[in-house]
């Protein structure tokens, strides 16, 4: 291997860096008025090996790219905490108390239509999953809670959810307040 011309290596490096298209060795050589840039390309490939950037050839075209093992840096995820909407938490409660349930059953119990997005949110949160289809007319999809649901709400099992009598004792079935809450929540959350 011939000793690479340091200036040519620099020029090839800069040319490839600034180009908005992958370039062939011939295109680079023509652009720089050089006889050949093969050696320079090889030198650059070794120089960048193991760095955060690599020089790669794809079908004769050369370009710089982010090292493959660092691709995850290009697309990062950031989590924003968000509270569930009233509609979503009602749907979740119904699924938890009645699972497995179909969407139609959830709507029947809630007394209002459930937007498609509502169940998606619960599945995105990892608290609800599709538990198959109910045998019967239309074979509707049925939903159930997940282990992550129990973990998030600090429940050992679904049997830990308070029963109706306990809800009443806790005043959670007081019809006036409940009706008022439902009215106002229904407006703002859906």
């Amino acid at each position: 291997m011939t000793a690479p011309d340091a200036d040519l290596v620099r020029a090839v490096e800069a040319t490839l860096f600034a180009s908005d298209l992958p370039l062939t060795a011939e295109q680079i050589a023509r652009h720089l008025g050089a006889a050949s840039v093969r050696v320079a390309l090889d030198t650059l490939v070794s120089h960048y090996a193991g760095r955060g950037i690599e020089l790669v050839e794809r079908g004769g075209y050369w370009h710089f790219q982010t090292a493959a093992d660092l691709a995850h840096l290009l697309r990062r995820e950031r989590e924003d905490p968000r509270r569930l909407s009233r509609a979503a938490i009602e749907a979740l409660a119904i699924i938890a108390y009645h699972e497995p349930v179909s969407r139609a059953e959830i709507e029947a119990i809630r007394g209002v239509q459930t937007a498609r997005g509502t169940l998606d949110v619960l599945m995105e949160a990892g608290w609800v999953q599709i538990a198959g289809r109910r045998e019967g007319p239309g074979r509707p999809t049925i939903y159930a809670t997940t282990a992550a649901f129990l973990a998030h709400f600090g429940l050992a099992s679904r049997r830990d959810l308070p029963g109706i009598d306990e809800l009443r004792a806790a005043g959670l079935l007081d019809p006036i307040d409940a009706a008022y809450a439902a009215l106002t929540a229904g407006e703002s959350d859906e």
Partner: protein, 270 residues
């Protein structure tokens, strides 16, 4: 300011619009009237032709050159913008002050005016030079280039949903409460039905000879009668009167709004 700096601001960058040509070439000078950004710029250009440091420049020479320039331009019937003429007048005045015997009382002194003009020229010269040097730098996108195909970095925002057990249970309680069957019950009220009122008004109208106040058709209210029954009777009787009028069996009259409503049997067509 050093000689070096002077030559630097003379250096023309590609971004400069053409400046006035070299000294001596007066015809070219006059043709480049649009080349100056105002009288101060012209003065600075003339000053630069003196080829000395702006601090040691002769203001009198400069004034002469400027006035000479303006005169020639006018002789050539070139249109000079008003601010060039204003500057010419001011410079002529300054020149006379500088040449005449001093008036010690005069404020500001002609020397101060001249010095201030010189300071202004120095400042403009400094900025012209600085602009030149700035434009001559290695500029991003022209001399130095950023990466041509950046992959771009993106941050996907993901929602981490939160809810607590109380919210969940409370929501369920709300649904349950909402679904408790609701029975509406209307308590029985003392009413006079339309049928009863119709029968009564028709009967009484038959015996009346002239206009009768609608209220006289009402059943006599005994002490202790429920007032709601009275109101119901009035409403029913009114409806009954309208019905009889519609059927052509009664006439209704009211002299003024909210006045007593009077009723009489319609004249039997004969």
């Amino acid at each position: 300011m050093s000689e070096d700096n002077l030559t630097l601001y003379g250096a023309q960058d590609a971004d400069w619009l053409p400046l006035a040509s070299a000294p001596g070439n007066d015809d070219a000078l006059y043709l480049e009237l649009d080349g100056w950004e105002g009288p101060l710029d012209l003065l600075l250009d003339l000053a630069r032709r003196q080829k000395v440091d702006l601090r040691t420049i002769s203001i009198l020479d400069l004034v002469d050159q400027y006035l000479g320039y303006v005169n020639r331009a006018q002789a050539l019937r070139l249109e000079l913008a008003a601010d060039y003429l204003v500057m010419a007048a001011w410079l002529a005045y300054l020149k006379s002050l500088l040449l005449l015997p001093r008036d010690p009382e005069m404020q500001p002194s002609p020397e101060e005016l001249a010095l201030r003009l010189q300071l202004r020229l120095q400042r403009l010269g400094a900025m012209r030079e600085a602009a030149s040097r700035l434009m001559a730098r290695d500029r991003l996108g022209r001399d130095v280039l950023p990466r041509g195909m950046p992959e771009g970095i993106r941050i996907d925002r993901k929602s981490r949903w939160t809810a607590n057990l109380y919210d969940l249970i409370q929501a369920y309680g709300t649904i349950k409460a909402r679904n408790v069957p609701v029975v509406h019950m209307v308590r029985e009220r003392p009413v006079v039905t339309l049928e009863a009122a119709l029968e009564r008004v028709a009967r009484l109208l038959g015996v009346a000879l002239d206009w009768v106040d609608l209220r006289d058709f009402l059943p006599r209210a005994e002490p202790g009668t429920d007032p709601r029954l009275t109101r119901s009777a009035l409403a029913s009787s009114f409806a009954a009167a309208l019905e009889l009028a519609k059927q052509g069996r009664a006439e209704i009259a009211q002299d003024h709004v909210f006045g007593p409503l009077r009723l009489r049997a319609a004249a039997v067509a004969s």
